[in-house]
């Protein structure tokens, strides 16, 4: 998970992210970005996420926790 913030920042099309930022606050937050996160989770972490799980995670750290929870 050491590159998590960098990977998410790239998908959110910003230079960097902080854990408290809400996902909805990002300009590019849309269905394609959510699909990108699902694809990233599958390709890089071998986990399966759903759209609703991602939406429910609310913040960048919420998303990180979801990844950690699914990986464990």
């Amino acid at each position: 998970m050491e590159n998590f913030y960098e990977e998410i920042a790239e998908l959110l099309e910003v230079d960097s992210v902080s854990g408290q930022e809400t996902l909805l606050s990002f300009k590019c937050w849309d269905s394609l970005t959510i699909l990108s996160i699902i694809a990233l989770a599958d390709d890089n972490y071998g986990i399966t996420l759903s759209t609703s799980e991602i939406n429910d995670s609310k913040t960048v750290d919420g998303l990180k926790n979801l990844f950690i929870q699914k990986k464990s």
Partner: protein, 256 residues
């Protein structure tokens, strides 16, 4: 007039190689071809699925576990199989891997793996099949399975689409190259068919997506058998003047 036994789509006495035989369209195809009298070599990475499929075909049919993500796997297995089984009249590449990813998350390694399974394996299979050691002297027939997404655009599908549209190029090019050998090369572009492969990517989509997909097909979603029927036709002599064709079997998806 005695015509009660006339069956122009009979495949009796013909031998075929089918990739992706363990489930879905591949399984439905094997069952149908078997009913039509064909002898089969069934290939897939899923041994359990292969065993289930062959139990629904003829006991003399042969199964072989192959991992199509590895190049060279067909050449490695097919020569020895054919020396026992006999030369082939045709082959069908049904094995495939979906890949849902928007452009910004596309992963080169995954895209290449999808391309290997969906596309390069088709090319490799064609190369091996076209050898006079593998195919029957009177020619033969090759069938690929592409997708409606090789014909129309779809967001988050670029990796899959490029692998499937490349099959259209292969179909056209090889149909010309192999025509002097009387080997026909055709491709079926199916719409959405209810299969395990479709289920494997369902987590990408929100509620209501299934309904949207259904609405894109004027005749509703397809069954694996709908595609199998078209494959049987293309393998049979009923299609002996058809080569280089991309046939849409999509419930009207691309008619809109």
């Amino acid at each position: 007039m005695e015509n009660s036994c006339y069956n122009p789509i009979s495949l009796a006495g013909k031998k075929f190689f089918i990739s992706g035989a363990a489930s879905g369209i591949g399984r439905a195809t094997c069952i149908l071809l078997s009913k039509l009298g064909a002898d089969l070599i069934l290939a897939d990475i899923n041994q359990k699925g292969l065993e289930e499929t062959v139990s629904l075909c003829k006991p003399t049919d042969v199964t072989v576990v192959m991992d199509f993500s590895q190049s060279g796997v067909i050449k490695e297995h097919l020569s020895s199989l054919v020396s026992v089984f006999g030369k082939l009249s045709g082959c069908v590449h049904i094995a495939g891997k979906p890949y849902i990813s928007p452009l910004k998350s596309i992963n080169s390694a995954t895209a290449l793996e999808v391309f290997q399974i969906n596309t390069m394996t088709a090319l490799e299979l064609s190369k091996v099949f076209a050898s006079r050691n593998i195919s029957v002297d009177e020619g033969g027939t090759i069938v690929f399975i592409s997708s409606v997404y090789a014909l129309v655009g779809s967001a988050a599908n670029v990796g899959y689409s490029m692998s499937k549209s490349a099959l259209h190029g292969i179909t056209k090019a090889l149909s010309i190259e192999l025509a002097p050998r009387k080997i026909r090369v055709n491709c079926i572009a199916p719409g959405f068919v209810k299969t395990k492969m479709g289920d494997s990517i369902s987590h990408f989509f929100t509620e209501g997506h299934d309904e949207k997909i259904r609405e894109m097909h004027p005749l509703g979603l397809g069954e694996p058998e709908d595609v199998a029927n078209a494959i049987a036709f293309l393998l049979s002599d009923m299609s002996k003047w058809i080569t280089g064709s991309i046939i849409s079997v999509d419930g009207g998806f691309t008619a809109k």
